[in-house]
Amino acid sequence: MKRVYVNEEWCLGCHLCEYYCAFAQTNENDIARALKDKVIKPGIRVEEHNGICFAVSCRHCEEPLCAKSCITGALTVVSGIVSVDTEKCIGCYTCILNCPYGAISPSEKGAILKCQLCSDNTHGSPACVKGCPNKAIVFEERGL
């Protein structure tokens, strides 16, 4: 299955992936209009420390601890993509307690927020990857 992989040495720490992710979630046409004056809540987040930076998003694990731990049944695997039913999710954060990568975060609406590889919006494939200026994240099949 195709996943988002990180080429850490090429990450500029520009955070554009975060903006493109937030934009993709809005399903709007214009990034500037969609995000102007908004505090963004992206499903991919850049970590930075002492000159090192890299982006982290859901790994879509083969054995997803988040989905196995989900107390409501809101997290399921749909064609390999770990997906959340935001109507069913109650925001208990048991998944946040279980994700080894810190790739799930609370959303403003009370449910959780996570990368679904843009399968849940009009972009079709990860907008973060399309927006990355330096191929520090790629969407590829690596047999893992």
Partner: protein, 411 residues
């Protein structure tokens, strides 16, 4: 070979087993016995139901067609009375027998009801672990019985208190002088009690109910509390007696190994009814928690259908929200404590012998799973930047090799 799987119980462990069995065996028959009448539902959601945050239709753990899709013979409202591990037969309350090739005991836990003197004189008494309890409580409160006394300020008692707080006048009594004493340490507990009180719940701590006389509780310090409805929330214990009576090995719960096998051949057990190794201490413990139940059930189901699976990563873990305050706790509180709390943002980490044993986070719970994985994988703390990760949870602390593997997909 056509195999017959029998499952006693219908919650998370049973669902995990069904899903694993059907990945490996589409042809075998699965019979599920449940003493309750509903389709599988999420037990922790009952307080959300009372709170009005989850509707009746949203409490279900799996879609309506779960049994049909997985070709299960679901027998709701049917209690199992006896297991015969020699003839591989179970007997239901109505006296009918069912043979099994593989049996999963997923009977869950039952509420502990201490033998209070005068309890039989109280009207409107409930425990709070099933959907029926939530429905009954809703009905009692909406009939105008608004003074509710909850005995126990643990997870069940406090979630119940939150669930009904908008519609009822709630008092919570606990023998312990701390709330959530099973999942918090003393320092973090005080913050929670203040928060609960500020949301209108009367907490009476360090004071036990001595006796009841009608709908009046007499406490150890001589005070009295009048109430309309009594909720006993004094914890749960594993439903292990079926297996114990069958001659199987039990402690506090049914003893299982890392394949979720019991002492009896072809009999597996999972979920709240078992006692298994807590990997944060290496000792046997009852960990009645939904994630462990699902994963044990899945492991059992896999082994029942001849695909070897090991589950040796059970740890105590709780994620709960009380009146908007997020509390995440994992593991055991042993060893030295590193406290990185700031104000009401609690971050406490327990560690010894170069390993993280447990943690408590209150308020800011971002990326907590990174800590959980440090406990689960027994990560040597001197191989990561422990000081950094405590303050700023992230994969930064783990070094490049780990990240290239997990994020970069490099082996």
């Amino acid at each position: 070979m056509h195999r017959k799987y029998v499952i006693i119980g219908n919650s998370a462990a049973a669902v995990g087993a069904v899903e694993a069995i059907r990945r490996n065996d589409r042809n075998g028959s699965i019979v599920i016995f449940s003493k309750e009448s509903q389709s599988t539902y999420s037990r922790p959601l009952i307080s959300y139901y009372n709170q009005g945050k989850v509707g009746r239709e949203s409490i279900y753990f799996r879609p309506d067609d779960f049994y049909e899709k997985n070709d299960c013979d679901f027998r709701p409202g049917t209690s199992v009375f006896k297991i015969d591990i020699h003839s591989c037969t179970i007997t239901t309350d109505s006296g009918s027998d069912e043979k099994y090739d593989r049996l999963l005991i997923a009977t869950g836990s039952e509420p502990v009801v201490p033998p209070f003197p005068g309890l039989d004189t109280v009207s409107n008494v409930r425990t709070y672990t099933s959907f029926d309890d939530a429905l009954a409580l809703e009905e009692l409160i909406s009939s105008g019985l608004s003074r509710v006394l909850i005995v126990g300020a643990g997870l069940i008692g406090l979630k119940c208190a939150e669930g009904i707080s908008k519609k009822a006048d709630v008092t919570c009594v606990d023998l312990s002088d701390k709330v959530l004493s099973s999942i918090l340490d003393d320092v973090s507990s005080d913050l929670i009690s203040d928060h609960i009180r500020s949301n209108g719940i009367k907490l009476v701590l360090g004071n036990a109910v001595k006796a009841f006389s009608g709908n009046k509780a007499e406490l150890a310090d001589g005070s009295r509390i009048d109430f309309d409805v009594l909720v006993i929330a004094s914890g749960v214990r594993p439903c292990a007696s079926l297996f114990k009576n069958a001659g199987g090995l039990t402690g506090k719960g049914i003893i299982i190994d890392d394949h979720c096998r019991t002492s009896a051949e072809n009999v597996f057990a999972a979920g709240d009814c078992v006692e298994s190794v807590d990997m944060s201490t290496g000792k046997y413990k009852v960990m009645a928690l939904l994630p462990n139940a699902y994963m044990q059930g899945e492991c059992a189901g896999s082994n029942m259908s001849d695909t070897e699976c090991v589950f040796n990563k059970a740890i105590p873990m709780n994620a709960l929200t009380l009146f908007g305050l997020h509390i995440l706790t994992t593991g055991s509180y042993t060893g030295e404590v590193s406290d990185d709390s700031e104000g009401n943002d609690i971050r406490r980490f327990y560690h010894s012998d170069n390993r993280l044993n447990g943690y408590i986070l209150i308020n800011n719970i971002d990326k907590a799973g990174i800590y959980t994985s440090m406990i689960r994988d027994r990560v040597p703390l001197d191989t990561i930047d422990f000081g950094l990760v405590r303050k700023a949870p992230g994969l930064m602390a783990f070094g490049r090799v780990y990240r290239d593997k997990t994020l970069g997909g490099k082996s």
